[in-house]
Subunit: 549 residues, 2 copies
């Protein structure tokens, strides 16, 4: 019998694996089953389709079933649901969703690429009209169709998709509310970072953001259309559309039922070759867990870029080759209007939860040479392990060029670099692209000083707590008098450089220095400590950072 | 006697070292001598000052002598020329250029940061009015002052500064000619890459570019103003301003005279701590050579970013600390109107000259997801060593986001990564920032296939040569009929996918496949070779790349 690869699922990992398997093995029979009527589409592009930056949903479709048949000799069966996997017999049971017909198909290798589904909580009203999730193209088309009649939209969940959708809806001039049950939007970032974006959304984009509250129930009108959202604390928000952006869950039920091992994260467990506990059964994409190479722990972070790579590697192994997927570093980027938020490796709270002994550096800096008229602010938070000095992660956000700098950190994480090694990376420089020392290198230098214990600092969050205590340090603000006048910490004093040492000498207690973005006070602290002043720290990220908390 | 650090030179390395030395050592006496009347300015910002993006030249000055005195207790003597170094006696001889007074000063440590100067050839007419170099702020001020009266400007030299100045002058609506004696502008890049930029400048920016010719002499009018440039082949070009952008030379004469060792590149030789052959004499910045960590060979690549880092490390070692400058990877970026050109590591021609056995990959690809309306083309050329599989370098150019992708490669070079390791880097993805697999990772995948000998290719330059031979391969163009009609290689045939195998079967000779940007034909070649077709290659970079040669 001809060897057959059966693939379940037709989005990123499934179609990537199909195409790669075909290139590796011209004679293999390749059959793909998917419940959906679309395959090979960019789910990540849907917010921009809703925004109408992309007019036609067909632009999101990378390849059609016809293309796969004609060009790759791959049989794609849309609207076909695999209802059972029989791994002992190398068989699957399939249902044609249009005819209801059921049949058995036999594989030599199976790839499970069932992806993930939007999480919908089991509460009153989730089935009302104009309550949507955004998971596939049909959802996107429905949302876009109804958007013109919608004046008030509530987005439940402040993750990547929810945040991207703010821009999509604002383009249609809707009134927007975002609800997040946690204390912050963009929950994978540290609170002191995400709070900047939260303030930006409230102040500059006029978004109503409600944190620390969940959605209690959805209230409909007489025609079963959504009318109001009630929150856990009893707030009532009017809405004529609700988007449930509460994250996704891996589609593992089929695998689990067949005895395929599920990992500790709740997604399918695979080895480095993307192989499950059944040697002929592979799995890839949003339905599998992987390793975070920073922590060496299992993680489930479903992303299109990862799914693509996993699909490629699964196909190589399925067709007799050998290639390993070593894991991820949790790199991501999200565009929130003209704000960019990117991350790789661990956040501070993740490092803390995992018990790392770490140091952090926070820096606000221009993304280009300061004299370039289009230079904009970016904020960097970088984390390193105290004992080893190796980098653990970075978050970069801002209106400036904040999207690719974390990729250098991602490379460093892959190479297990220390902060010192990182400082030696020869980054490009020209005034339209970066300052002469890239902010990410300055952040690394600050980390390095902290690792060497040359300077001490206080994080804005620690400072907030400190200010509530009875015994307070002397807080010395070294910004210009006009900056100080515009906004400053209560009881802080504005001290000119020439009076600084005298003031510190008089203080007779700990001194906390603060500047604009964290760099100047860091350098001053370094200098003062060399001079013998001991009881002195600077505020990480400076006042521009602090006031956004 | 109080210990004194004397620094010669006040731009990037000198002032950086002064500030860092002060932070490390509060009691050290620090004195800086410079011939210039400016210190601590951004030379790299001067093109944008001339363009008038920056109105006032003072914006380019980072720190003034007064600042250094008041804030850092550093004595800066402008218009003071160090005329002699006496390293055996730890003394320097200084001349006050305003009074003519000469005096001796004594150092415990000396830092030579004399930088570089613009090269001016010894030919007729270089002293004419309105013939400029661009090396310091006085030059920039003079050029900007005279620009309004200048209608025709000739830039001699197609390096970074010359190319940046095109934009500066075009903003003043001048008619521009660029002359380069070599076969290409942007000579540190490969010709097949720089030719794209050359075509862009000619076709879209209306720049007159003359390569393979040098400047023979400059011809003045009766008032000794520049009137014409005569080239080596006798072309006469009218000009009312000429910029000599012929590169720079290290200022080493002072050091050399004092017996300080000069390296094989002609710049000052230092160890990893920035120390010369005299233990108390350090050197940093444009006047020293360093190591290219890719080749482990000495190189002299003067750049502001490198000077800054060297200054910092010199200061740490001067003040009793220990830190090493490990070298560079030759990373650079230049903005040429709306075109970006960036590079790190080796170009193909450098790899060839150094005798490496290498493979290359060329890819033209959108910088973002193809469906995003603002997606733009970038071109990547990446090079790896055949035997070890390690990455040797990358060049990225284009109107799209081409400035930061090489930084990931720079990190990989620092970590000595192989192509395979590089492919595992978890880069960020969202449609507004990149395709789901970043083009730099696709280029790495292509390199990997070539390293594994899964595919063969022909570079556009090899194809040009091939087309001149009598025995030609069958050239099969798989683009759409309309693309083919618009432009194609002579004697190539446009073949639809369904007829491809038949055509290859009939060919009875080598087949060369070509597509738009190099990716599709690469994938097809991979597939066809798996099917057993052997005598088949694809064109690196595709037809979009080829037609720009």
């Amino acid at each position: 019998m001809q060897k057959q690869l059966i693939i379940i699922g037709g989005v990123a990992a499934g179609t990537k694996a199909a195409a790669k398997a075909r290139r590796e093995s011209p004679d293999l029979k390749i059959t793909l089953y998917t419940e959906s009527r679309y395959i090979s589409y960019s789910a990540c592009g849907m917010p921009y389709y809703i925004e109408n930056l992309i007019k036609d949903e067909k632009r999101l479709i990378v390849r059609t079933p016809e293309y796969f048949k004609e060009r790759e000799d791959i049989d794609i069966h849309i609207k076909h649901k695999v209802t059972r996997i029989l791994p002992e017999e190398n068989k699957v049971e399939v249902e044609n969703l249009e005819t209801g017909e059921k049949f058995i198909d036999e594989y030599s290798k199976l790839l499970i690429a069932t992806g993930s589904r939007a999480f919908v909580p089991d509460i009153e009203g989730v089935k009302l009209q104009n309550v949507f999730v955004l998971k596939d193209i049909d959802d996107a088309v429905e949302i876009k169709k109804n958007i013109k009649q919608s004046k008030k939209v509530v987005i439940v969940g402040g993750g990547y998709i929810g945040l991207e959708l703010l821009e999509s809806f604002k383009a249609h001039d809707t009134d927007l509310t975002m609800i997040d049950r946690s204390q912050q939007i963009l929950n994978t970032f540290d609170l002191d970072i995400s709070s900047h974006i939260q303030n930006y959304l409230i102040e500059e984009k006029n978004i109503n953001i409600i944190t620390n509250e969940s959605m209690k129930r959805l209230i409909g009108d007489s025609k079963s259309f959504i009318k109001q959202v009630e929150t856990s604390r009893g707030k009532i928000i009017n809405a004529d559309m609700v988007i449930l952006a509460l994250g996704v869950r891996p589609n593992i039920e089929l695998a689990k039922e067949a005895g395929i091992e599920i990992g500790e994260t709740g997604a399918i467990k695979v080895n480095e070759r993307m192989q499950t506990n059944f040697p002929d059964v592979f799995a890839a994409g949003d339905c599998v867990e992987t390793i975070n190479i920073v922590t060496d722990k299992s993680v489930w972070i479903p992303l299109g870029s990862t799914a693509n790579k996993m699909g490629r590697i699964a196909a190589i192994n399925i067709t007799g080759g050998y290639e390993e997927f070593k894991g991820i570093t949790g790199s991501m980027v999200v565009k929130i209007f003209d704000y960019t938020a990117s991350k790789t490796g661990l956040s501070e709270k993740e490092a803390k939860e995992l018990g790392y002994d770490y140091v952090i550096a926070i820096l606000m800096h221009r993304d280009k040479s300061g004299y370039m008229p289009d230079a904009k602010e970016i904020t960097i938070k970088m984390i390193a392990e105290k004992s080893s000095g190796r980098i653990l992660g970075a978050q970069v956000i801002g209106k400036g060029d904040a999207d690719k700098r974390v990729n250098v950190v991602a490379a460093a994480l892959t190479a297990n670099m220390t902060v010192k090694e990182f400082m030696g990376i020869d980054l490009t420089y020209a005034p339209p692209y970066s300052p002469s020392i890239d902010p990410i290198l300055i952040a690394a230098q600050m980390l390095y000083s902290k690792l060497k214990k040359e300077v001490g600092s206080i994080t804005p969050e620690e400072l907030q707590k400190h200010l509530k205590q009875r015994e307070k340090a002397a807080i010395i603000d070294i910004r210009t008098p006009s900056e100080f006048k515009a906004w400053h910490i209560e009881n802080s004093q504005n001290v000119l450089f020439e009076d600084l040492e005298e003031k510190i000498g008089q203080a007779n207690r700990e001194t906390i220095l603060c500047c604009e973005g964290g760099m100047e006070s860091y350098l001053l602290t370094l200098q003062l400590m060399e001079k013998g002043y001991q009881n002195i720290r600077f505020v990480d990220g400076g006042m521009n950072f602090y006031k956004n908390l």
